[in-house]
């Protein structure tokens, strides 16, 4: 290797902290991008792998309970690997401690199912002729303390089942559970699997309302779904779910995609900061070596050879940063994936290492760093050898603006070391401005993540508060309105409004997507339809108008005013015009007037649920509602809001990793800039030492300079935060639902306070350097220069 390359390498390693800062920022750049991307990939892979190994159903058809003898056969339909029949009832589980938990009783025809396998964690699987013994989903053990051998009480409608727990299981269906998937929110659900004979015995016949299918590999799933749907058209089908539509799968996919929404902001910011910091550091290294560069030019070295030396040095340092970045990638990936996985209680976590992601992370960061080196060197080499050797009058230390001078007067009462420190930042306005903006940007990303989650929480709170209902009851099957008279007159209920909810298919040109049809009273006192364009939708007299969730409209490719099809049971198709889109928490919805819904679904006198207003204790209303045998899910608004809040807390935990990374980058910046500043002012610090300044005063100067710089960065970060949060919330709207911007002082303080507390740590090395300065040596050097 040429000596001149060796020289540059040795120079870089000689300026330890500058090289360390470059390596660290590059490591952050590589690690943040690759780590976060790989963690999301790992979680997606884990989800799919669990579904694959546990034989998650490809299709589930839910219908109104029917005699097993009335069900069609599927043996002649090619492509089906397994079919299993079940009876699924919503209900309530009586908890060991006081209270009840929304529950689900799943009674199986095949006790050791091949579809949606039951993975026995403790105890024994279900056994023939032992229908009073059940197995429970592990949540009931983990959260509510049920054990093998305990008795468990489950109420379905009016009927109460008291059964013995024979085993604890995990099912792929309930990686994530939801008491009411219509609100698209994971919540604790007491799931109990039992023998179908538990009910059949008392009924005298075998009733079924749910069939799950596993397809053979490589079949046309859409075609197969059509064949199965048409075979079941004579049944009163309530919902047809593909595995993509299943709550567990849909929510996990959406939730992971929502995290993907947040990642570009930190990735772009860190890339920008990598560029700026490398640029600043290399500018510094070059200006420190200007005499040596001049000597090289005098020797006859060409500028491109000098450029090549710096690029080589830059590459070696960046490469070492990349190596550290690979380690950081694993740390970020494992921390992020483990945090998320443990929050969602995944049974297993498969870590993915993607060479492609790693290569992208490394290449982008490396190219940015090398581009920054190139820009620094090329700017310098444009000067003539003479200019390089002589140097230019930089103006450093000259305060030009009278505004700044006036500002100084404000500090005149402060102790001299603080005045010295704070005024220092005005001596290099260019570099200080870049630093303030960079630190401000890094802090803004941190705060924005917290503010975005806060906005998420507040929007949900506000949306639910905007809806005037207190309780929603869903019925096990459609009920005639006349039959509801007694229920609606319960003293706990002050007002109620019926709705009709059912699964349908929505599409155009023969391509359909599963959707949840929601028929509501056009004059509803409970539900306001807030459109994505900001307006409130009022149903027109044209009964063929509908409002769609924005995700559904996007999936189908519908534009406002366009006609689309709604396919209901027995394959009947109705045309509707898209009157508007909504971006609510619940995705995949189509909203039409109550009467229209009943008409097209051929339940002219029925409803499937009630919105209820009540000022009573939700427990009392729940007890009242449970008196009726058709009562299915009971959703209490207060509880659902609480569960959303819990979910946002979990989001904060996961997002805090990205927040910490941004904060770390801000601190690396402060560390670098302060060390540069100290190196620049070596002469002044030794003079101060010569004048008798002690360690305390020197530390005070440095800390006050760093703090002052950080405080300005904290102020600057406010507008950046507003902008980045708005950007994140807009992206969240695209991925899930419309999130309004809400900011709280606490969001800012959560980042600003740790940042200010870390400032003294960031300057510790610099302070030590000033303590170690040898007065005689530095003064001698200064004289020579």
């Amino acid at each position: 290797m040429k000596k001149i390359y060796i020289k540059f390498l040795r120079d870089l390693f000689a300026s330890k902290w500058l090289s360390a800062a470059v390596m660290l920022i590059i490591a952050c750049g590589v690690g943040t991008y690759s780590g976060i991307e790989m963690s999301i990939d790992s979680l997606f892979f884990t989800k799919d792998k669990i579904f694959e190994t546990e034989n998650f159903a490809d299709l589930e058809v839910l219908f109104m309970p029917n005699d097993i003898n009335n069900l069609p056969g599927f043996a002649d339909i090619p492509g089906i690997e397994s079919v299993e029949r079940r009876l699924v009832f919503p209900g309530e589980v009586k908890l060991k401690k006081k209270g009840k938990l929304p529950g689900r009783m799943i009674l199986l025809e095949t006790l050791v199912p091949k579809v949606n396998k039951l993975n026995v964690v403790k105890g024994l699987p279900l056994k023939e002729n032992n229908f009073n013994t059940v197995v429970i989903e592990h949540f009931l053990e983990k959260e509510e303390g049920f054990k093998v051998g305990d008795n468990i009480e489950l109420q379905v409608g009016k009927k109460v089942y008291n059964v013995k727990i024979g085993g604890i299981v995990r099912s792929p269906e309930y990686i994530l559970s939801s008491a009411n998937p219509d609100y698209f929110l994971p919540s604790l659900l007491g799931v109990v699997f039992g023998d179908l004979n538990l009910v059949s015995d008392s009924l005298g016949f075998t009733m079924i309302n749910d069939i799950v299918f596993k397809f053979k590999p490589g079949v046309d799933k859409v075609k197969l779904k059509e064949s199965i749907s048409s075979r079941m058209s004579k049944l009163n089908v309530e919902a047809v779910f593909t595995n993509k539509d299943h709550f567990s799968n849909r929510f996990l996919t959406m939730d992971l995609n929502a995290f993907k929404v947040y990642t570009p902001a930190i990735e772009i910011t860190i890339c920008l900061l990598v560029f700026i910091l490398v640029l600043i550091i290399f500018n510094r290294i070059i200006s420190e070596q200007k005499k040596e560069i001049g000597v090289m030019l005098a020797f006859g070295y060409r500028k491109r050879e000098i450029l090549a030396c710096f690029m080589f040095g830059g590459f070696v340092i960046s490469f070492l940063g990349v190596l550290i970045g690979i380690v950081v990638t694993f740390i970020v990936r494992n921390t992020f994936a483990n945090t998320y996985s443990s929050l969602l209680d995944f049974p297993v976590l498969y870590m993915i290492f993607s060479f492609k992601t790693m290569a992208v992370g490394i290449t982008v960061t490396l190219l940015l760093a090398l581009f920054a080196v190139f820009v620094s060197v090329i700017g310098f080499l444009r000067l003539t050898p003479q200019e390089i050797i002589r140097g230019e009058v930089s103006g450093a230390g000259i305060i030009r603006f009278s505004v700044v001078k006036n500002l100084f007067m404000l500090f005149s009462k402060l102790p001299v070391e603080i005045r010295f420190g704070t005024r220092n930042i005005f001596r290099r306005p260019g570099i200080v401005a870049v630093t303030i903006i960079s630190v401000g940007l890094a802090l803004a990303v941190s705060i924005s993540y917290i503010a975005a989650v806060g906005s998420f929480r507040k929007t949900i709170e506000k949306n639910f508060n905007g809806e005037k209902w207190d309780v929603v009851v869903d019925f096990l099957y459609p009920i005639m309105l006349d039959e509801l008279k007694e229920l609606r007159q319960e003293k706990e209920i002050s007002y109620s409004e019926a709705f009709f909810r059912r699964s349908v298919e929505v599409g155009k040109s023969g391509a359909y997507e599963g959707a949840r049809l929601f028929g509501i009273n056009p004059e509803s006192r409970f539900k306001e339809i807030k459109l994505t364009d900001g307006g409130i939708y009022k149903f027109s007299k044209n009964e063929n108008e509908a409002v769609l969730s924005v995700d559904l409209a996007d999936k189908i490719g519908l534009k406002l005013g366009e006609i689309f099809e709604v396919r209901v049971r027995e394959g009947k198709v109705f045309n509707f015009k898209l009157a508007g889109t909504i971006a609510e928490v619940t995705i995949g919805q189509i909203i039409i007037p109550f009467e229209v819904a009943r008409k097209i679904l051929e339940f002219p006198d029925e409803c499937t649920g009630l919105y209820i207003n009540s000022s009573s204790d939700p427990k009392k209303i729940t007890a009242d509602l449970r008196k009726y045998e058709y009562t299915g899910n009971i959703t209490i608004k207060q509880k659902i809001v609480g569960e959303f809040m819990e979910m946002s807390k979990q989001m904060v935990k996961t997002i805090s990793i990205a927040t910490i990374m941004s904060l770390a980058v801000a601190i690396i910046f402060i560390f670098t800039i302060m060390n540069l500043s100290i190196s620049d002012k070596k002469g002044e610090y030794v003079l101060l030492k010569a004048l008798g300044y002690g360690k305390k005063q020197l530390a005070a100067i440095i800390i006050s300079e760093a703090l002052f710089l950080t405080v300005i960065a904290n102020i600057i970060c406010i507008p950046f935060t507003l902008f980045v949060t708005d950007f994140l919330n807009l992206r969240m709207e695209k991925a899930w639902f419309k999130v309004y911007n809400y900011f709280e002082i606490g969001d800012f303080l959560m980042v600003i306070i740790p940042c200010l507390l870390l400032v003294p740590v960031a300057v510790l090395y610099g302070i030590k350097k000033t303590y170690d300065l040898n007065i005689a040596e530095v003064l001698k050097t200064r004289v020579i220069e």
């Binding site: 005098a298 003539t384 050898p385």
Partner: protein, 224 residues
């Protein structure tokens, strides 16, 4: 008859700073023969270093013509100037300007590597020239491990090693005590005698100027 190594014809240098322009060199005309040792002397700010830089092609003249070894440098582009510096000129600086992170030998090698010389030859020449300046035993020392005089010897070896026809020295003894400075001057004289290398030295020291074959006195940018 010896040919001219350096010829300057009515050379001026004007610096512009904002609206103000000031003349550092005014109509300088001079000739230095091959193998001569010339001293440029004059008070501070008289234009000595500017003159040396123009001769060394580190700076360009505003007016006039500059010839180095018979080659006109005014019309050369940066590539051409670079070639002249690489092939014909060696530099010695007041503060030695050795690369602090390279050893004495590596400093000399760094000066040779951009020439079209084989590795073995570089090693050989490095050893030879360090030996010539009396630094053979300290070739693996870093500049910080050497005294000022030793560092300047290495700098001279570095300048000499590429066999330039012309060596320019900006106060080469300015940072050394008298005894060490004398040793350096003796070394330069010896090299001049042995290798017929032309030396142009900017100096404040009248004793050194006296030893030189030619003294160029400069004041307010003009040759006296």
């Amino acid at each position: 008859m010896k040919k001219d190594m350096i010829e300057l014809v009515r050379v001026s240098k004007i610096y512009n700073t904002g609206d103000i322009s000031f003349s550092v060199l005014k109509d300088v005309t001079l000739r230095i023969k091959e193998g001569e040792i010339a001293a440029i002397v004059g008070p501070s700010g008289s234009g000595k270093t500017t003159l040396l830089n123009i001769i060394g092609t580190l700076d360009t003249a505003s007016n006039g013509k500059v010839f180095i070894d018979g080659e006109e440098v005014n019309s050369a582009d940066s590539k051409g100037l670079n070639r002249i510096r690489k092939e014909k000129i060696g530099f010695i600086f007041q503060f030695y300007n050795l690369f602090p992170t390279l050893t004495a030998a590596e400093n000399v090698e760094a000066g040779l590597e951009m020439l079209d010389i084989k590795k073995g030859e570089i090693k050989k020449r490095t050893a030879e020239y360090l030996e010539l300046v009396g630094m053979g035993s300290k070739m693996n020392k870093f500049p910080s491990q050497l005294s000022g005089g030793e560092q300047q010897r290495v700098a001279i070896a570095r300048a000499l090693s590429k066999n330039p026809k012309l060596i320019l020295g900006d106060e080469p003894t300015g940072n050394l005590d008298e005894a060490t400075g004398n040793q350096i001057v003796k070394l330069m004289l010896e090299i001049n005698r042995k290798m017929k290398t032309t030396f142009v030295i900017v100096t404040h020291n009248p004793k050194i100027a006296k030893i030189c074959h030619k003294i160029i006195k400069i004041k307010d940018g003009s040759i006296q």
